[in-house]
Symmetry: C2
Subunit: 214 residues, 2 copies
DNA sequence: TCAATAGTGGACTGTCAAGTCCAATCCTGA
DNA sequence: TCAGGATTGGACTTGACAGTCCACTATTGA
């Protein structure tokens, strides 16, 4: 998102751009699997078939690379749920979104790519934290937009705050993912998502009897 | 909780026990501030005024020490909220508990001592993960017991599952703490706790909206 | 009292990771 | 074509960290 081309501001050749992209992608994969501290740049170089000098040609240092990884994971996470989040205009669509999230995380025990990074890096440098904030912000914004649509369609009470709802839902999701990753079971995530859906439901305009299941 | 005296099973003198305890406490503090990977045993030794050999006299390796840190943080977290969690018998008491949590985390930006460890270590060794699961479990159990009391007093619908409620609330809390730590603002935590309280409230016996199973 | 055992000090080793350096090679535009 | 910048290879330096070793001191219980 906000990530800057730390070292190279000069134009990149398509070959150079490809190398650069490959580095970020490999770094994203490895850090997601083992954490940032536990991922060495030598590992990244080996996996990306790239030499040390190339890595330092494109990134000032490890931290700069990590910032780009955060941005890349943010895009990846948003892209993965875009089909569901894009048509977020009704309570039914919200349930579909929750099912998508669940499906994306049923197999993996690695947790949220962005959440894990946030937990590890939120207390590092300001620049890194800013990138994390931007990531969560984009995510919340995407959800918030959906809730706004629901609101304009009369599905949500006009007194509800789309932004607050988005943050609450995101918090439930993150917490559920953490517990699920720890327990090696999707159960906590399912419970957390159900709670989030009911929370949104409680802000529905005609909230007398509400459709069930998640 | 489950933590074992990995190296020394022989009796400890009070002096030895004190040294051992000091090591764990310092390690807990440092890892909470910077993460496990980023905390070196040399740092722990320096801070605890202890030599390397002492550390390895009491712990098989870093992982064994970390397991004890997890247990210690679990106890610390539970102890901190015990006053509020102990009298968890009504909706009002639950709000008091939420206020306690909030007060405990208003100043700090370090996140949950247990949650941070879980995020970093859940994919390490089985033994470590087991310790983390035990920690969350004890926490959820403590909340669950409170909800059971509420239920037996007729404050919660008999169809509500205290255990599921506890896990949902814990997930909201963890997610809220993560977002708050990232944003350097208590706002997401406040929103997450409000959602959690409403969720429990939705299972109250006398709520007009019919309580539905979770 | 006096071994035996618990506890302690701190130097040392091997490994691994971040970051540097420089020479070689590729690519583009004039 | 060919100069100059973009790109690449990989050895090297420096430092940090987990874990080892051994000699030393304190304590305890018979």
């Amino acid at each position: 998102m906000t990530a800057s081309r730390t070292v190279m501001s000069r134009p990149l050749t398509s070959r150079g751009a490809a190398t650069r992209r490959r580095i970020v992608e490999v770094a994203a994969r490895l850090t997601h699997a083992s954490g940032v501290e536990a991922t060495s740049l030598d590992d990244v170089c080996a996996e990306a078939k790239v030499s040390k000098s190339q890595l330092y040609h494109y990134f000032a240092d490890k931290e700069a690379l990590v910032r780009e990884v955060i941005a890349a994971q943010t895009e990846r996470v948003l892209a993965a749920q875009e089909p569901a989040i894009g048509k977020l205009d009704s309570a039914a669509a919200l349930r579909t979104w929750a099912d998508t999230i669940l499906a994306l995380n049923r197999s993996t025990t690695a947790g949220c790519p962005l959440g894990s990074l946030a937990n590890e890096l939120a207390n590092q440098s300001e620049a890194t934290r800013a990138e994390l904030v931007a990531g969560f912000d984009a995510w919340a914004e995407r959800l918030s937009r959906g809730f706004s649509v629901m609101q304009s369609r009369g599905e949500l009470s006009s007194s509800a705050s789309p932004r607050d709802l988005a943050i609450s839902v995101l918090a439930a999701l993150q917490g559920g993912l953490l517990l699920a990753k720890t327990a090696h079971s999707p159960a906590p995530l399912i419970l957390a998502l159900k709670m989030a859906l009911r929370h949104v439901d409680a802000h529905r305009r005609h909230s007398k009897a509400t459709p069930r299941r998640a």
